[in-house]
Symmetry: D2
Subunit: 323 residues, 4 copies
Amino acid sequence: MPQTHHLQPTRYHFTFGPAEPALRVQSGDTVVAPTRDSRGFNADGQPLAREAIANQGHEGYDYWPRNPLVGPIYVEGAEPGDVLAVHIERVELTRDWGFSARNVNFGSLTGEYVGHRLLLNPPLEAARLDWQIDRQRMKGVYPMPNSRLGRAEIDLHPFIGSIGVAPRFGRVETALAPGEFGGNMDCPETCAGTTLLFPVWTRGAYLYFGDVHAAQGDGELCGTAIEMAAEVQLRLEVRPGPCGDWPCAEDATHLMAIGSTRPLMDAVRLAQVELMNWLVRDYGFDFWEVWQLNSQVGTMRIGNVVDPYYSVVAKFPKRYLPD
Amino acid sequence: MPQTHHLQPTRYHFTFGPAEPALRVQSGDTVVAPTRDSRGFNADGQPLAREAIANQGHEGYDYWPRNPLVGPIYVEGAEPGDVLAVHIERVELTRDWGFSARNVNFGSLTGEYVGHRLLLNPPLEAARLDWQIDRQRMKGVYPMPNSRLGRAEIDLHPFIGSIGVAPRFGRVETALAPGEFGGNMDCPETCAGTTLLFPVWTRGAYLYFGDVHAAQGDGELCGTAIEMAAEVQLRLEVRPGPCGDWPCAEDATHLMAIGSTRPLMDAVRLAQVELMNWLVRDYGFDFWEVWQLNSQVGTMRIGNVVDPYYSVVAKFPKRYLPD
Amino acid sequence: MPQTHHLQPTRYHFTFGPAEPALRVQSGDTVVAPTRDSRGFNADGQPLAREAIANQGHEGYDYWPRNPLVGPIYVEGAEPGDVLAVHIERVELTRDWGFSARNVNFGSLTGEYVGHRLLLNPPLEAARLDWQIDRQRMKGVYPMPNSRLGRAEIDLHPFIGSIGVAPRFGRVETALAPGEFGGNMDCPETCAGTTLLFPVWTRGAYLYFGDVHAAQGDGELCGTAIEMAAEVQLRLEVRPGPCGDWPCAEDATHLMAIGSTRPLMDAVRLAQVELMNWLVRDYGFDFWEVWQLNSQVGTMRIGNVVDPYYSVVAKFPKRYLPD
Amino acid sequence: MPQTHHLQPTRYHFTFGPAEPALRVQSGDTVVAPTRDSRGFNADGQPLAREAIANQGHEGYDYWPRNPLVGPIYVEGAEPGDVLAVHIERVELTRDWGFSARNVNFGSLTGEYVGHRLLLNPPLEAARLDWQIDRQRMKGVYPMPNSRLGRAEIDLHPFIGSIGVAPRFGRVETALAPGEFGGNMDCPETCAGTTLLFPVWTRGAYLYFGDVHAAQGDGELCGTAIEMAAEVQLRLEVRPGPCGDWPCAEDATHLMAIGSTRPLMDAVRLAQVELMNWLVRDYGFDFWEVWQLNSQVGTMRIGNVVDPYYSVVAKFPKRYLPD
């Protein structure tokens, strides 16, 4: 009988990888949990206490203090070669303020390498940029006193910036990076109504999530979206394989594959190859024929061009699937 | 008094650059001309005669036989520093068949370098892929006998694959390449209802166009869209500068900038910087404030990832412009 | 009193990261150990037994069966922020045969993504290519019956293809990847007479090494060098910081920094920034002045363009250091 | 009977492409000419007069004021498909001072795109950096008052930064760019004793050269080498094809191929494919066998990572050629 688990996290992780589970669930169960924003503040604006940071097992290590994740959730029966289907049922904002930032050595136009200065130019000055959140109308407001516009009011579209499973090889990866395990993909498609499909790399899968964004443009260009606290509801399901190499997704209108790497063109290629393999494997397409069809009807979204690996979502319209 | 010129091309060019004009027009004039498909076939399916290929001035040279262009159109009064506004009024398909292709050393997933083999793997086999065009219903049909789908019927959205002005320095560039002069950008936004905004690099501008696509997915992944003959109607207008460094565009909902280069991430950066500079220059935005706003509401389309330079369209929603 | 430890490995690792030490040493100690080739064969040609593969801690995980590493060596007193100096004293080949390979989806010209097929072209056929090793004359012989040359005899220059410490964050990374922890850099500079300088990321450092190459060209273009079994002698020394972000090295003539990432140009940038920072920090150079000097006298070697991250060695001639 | 032509240039070009010849020669002839530095100053330090700048044929065009080139030299009998062999006999410095620079939006670590600002960071301040040239001892001296070193004295190794033929298609390319026509490759191998081998793209070849460097490190990292005036002596020879797609070269010890493009990894690939094709075509190698051999003995130099296209030199040691 599927259960609903209300998880109150006491520990947060800054990495994806196997660790002592926060929760053990069965295929079909639902998980509801509050998430903190990328800098660790919760719905009440409280910072993350040091004691709540999970220890990855070795003293003296350093970690990148971004994207504290809820979990890990151990899914009974999930074996390598399976697919972990994550039905995103609800991503609800739980606060009336969010923030973005001007980052020093992080972002699409700062000659950076993931926090390292990689150029001769003087660095930018860091700045925190506040956004007011109107949850009733689902609008975000940003004051622009030096612009003729004066003030911007934009539509919000909450989604999960960071969600993934343990990588393969027993590898541990930072909460800032996306990859074949999902991770910090920063893709707006990761919203309510979408089902994510993760290849299971490690028995139990070890699902983590966090870093909800109230809104974000393509690429997450400045390095930071509108960062928010939220409550997230996910229904988890183990499906037998075969599965691919990269996270996929499905919503009402599209099948999607998400490739994450640098350089950006390789993320395009990874996503496209994954999508084509899926269409061949599960929908009876001939590879060459669907490559042509996708070349004419497929679309792509640049998810992020700021993280250690860039993410691209390759999309195929479901209206062209066979019955 | 603005005129409408009906141009019947007798010569076609495989390069962008200054050359003897096919037509001289005034700012405000309209041009109507038939265009051939990327392999030179016209509305009646007739191939391009060798005599109709414009000679670039030196014997013994080689050219890349793709994208024969109509023009050049010399625009009186267009000086470097001006903007040539090209209002795309009509892109009408004039044939009932189109084609795409499997290319040997060209395309996003063939380890190519623009027709050169760049890898050790055996090459693909070239193939021509026929599409039936239903101009009444604006549908394209592609038979897929080896797929469960059997047959694909897709919506058509004609646009101009290749349109641009003479590059700077008196440079001459192939009809296959996009750049700061426009060119073979392969961006679906280049359709009826859009106004393109080209920086003028050379007195007279020397506008060329051709290579109409009936449809195309993001990236033009296989290397070839659905190639068509068409009739194109453009209204040309010279506007005083200042102008930027890359082609821009405006349609009903968005301001756009198109960056073209390799690698793909630099095309993202070029497009974004151009868009931001435009918003600051003409719409009274403070740079940092609009960089934040665009980071949350901006979108991008990958136009092509197959040409000598990749093209990315950076878009800003006009609903966020000041009155 | 410095000791010499003769390590007879019983367990081999396919990852870099904290794990139960094979050996604990003091700063100043020397370690001598036999290493297996990249496919796990030892000096007697025996394959790696399954029982000898270290378990990374979680069941059901997958690993990439290349580059089994000796270690980890726990260095007492090594703290994050220190530098672990590894003096490479001896890299001695212990076998009379080596091998290279034609790889299926791995190599600089195979449109690959680290073992994944990333293109439409048919894959290459895998092949093992045998090299005879003459240890007396330090020559390698490769038969070339289909070439006019007939047979190639080349100079050998043994070096350690893969050597590194545990990455930060408690991260675990495959033995195939290089990074800020060193790893599979595949750089010929990593030979006897060179001192490697690793930033310590984790208390104890956790040094691993293996994958000795008898010879290799720049880039390791085909994906595989001349793979060999060897005996390696290293003297380890903990030095106090400050230290940089990337592995550095010093030999008789040059200071070096090794940047590893994709794309290749970012590896160039990382290596250059690291080298410049080092010259400023330890040799009293003004940044701008040494950037100019290095722009005129510096050299670089492309270490590898086949691994998950490419490696570039930036070199500064020691003859231009102040006394 | 081969002649020696002493060319006194009256016109200088900022582009490569067909133009009215400065000189017509026969295969076997020698050309001697003075060259100006990259900013147009001659041996006497006089700037380039406006009247001496060749008009590329269209008014109102803009040009990039770097690398004024001597030529074009029309080589009688050179037809597309031939190889123009340029034996570099002498590159003699003719001045006692040179300069380098700190560039604003140009260089390997300035987040630039060829003179365009491509990032949010404040730009660098431009600076001219003077080098004293001692032609007797062939040393360059650079004062470093803010560094402990105090002053650097380096070996000079004059070479031609910019030399090439007209590109194909009747294309015209700036003097700043390298490509399949040669151009601004900025490769130290282009020195006395080397023979360059250019594919002829246009009847007559139209050879240009200039931009001599007294010295330069790998990559030309800051964007500017030690720029000098010089006298250059070249012996030109037309050889029948077949030829490849990219410039090649030969010196006492190596065969070389020079690939130029962005991103850097594609320059590696282009150079390698060209080199392998040459070895197969002219030296009787089997492709797969020489690919293996080159993977173990080949080297590469990063020529430039600052120009519109990056250049990589792939080198194969001649000692491994068959007799």
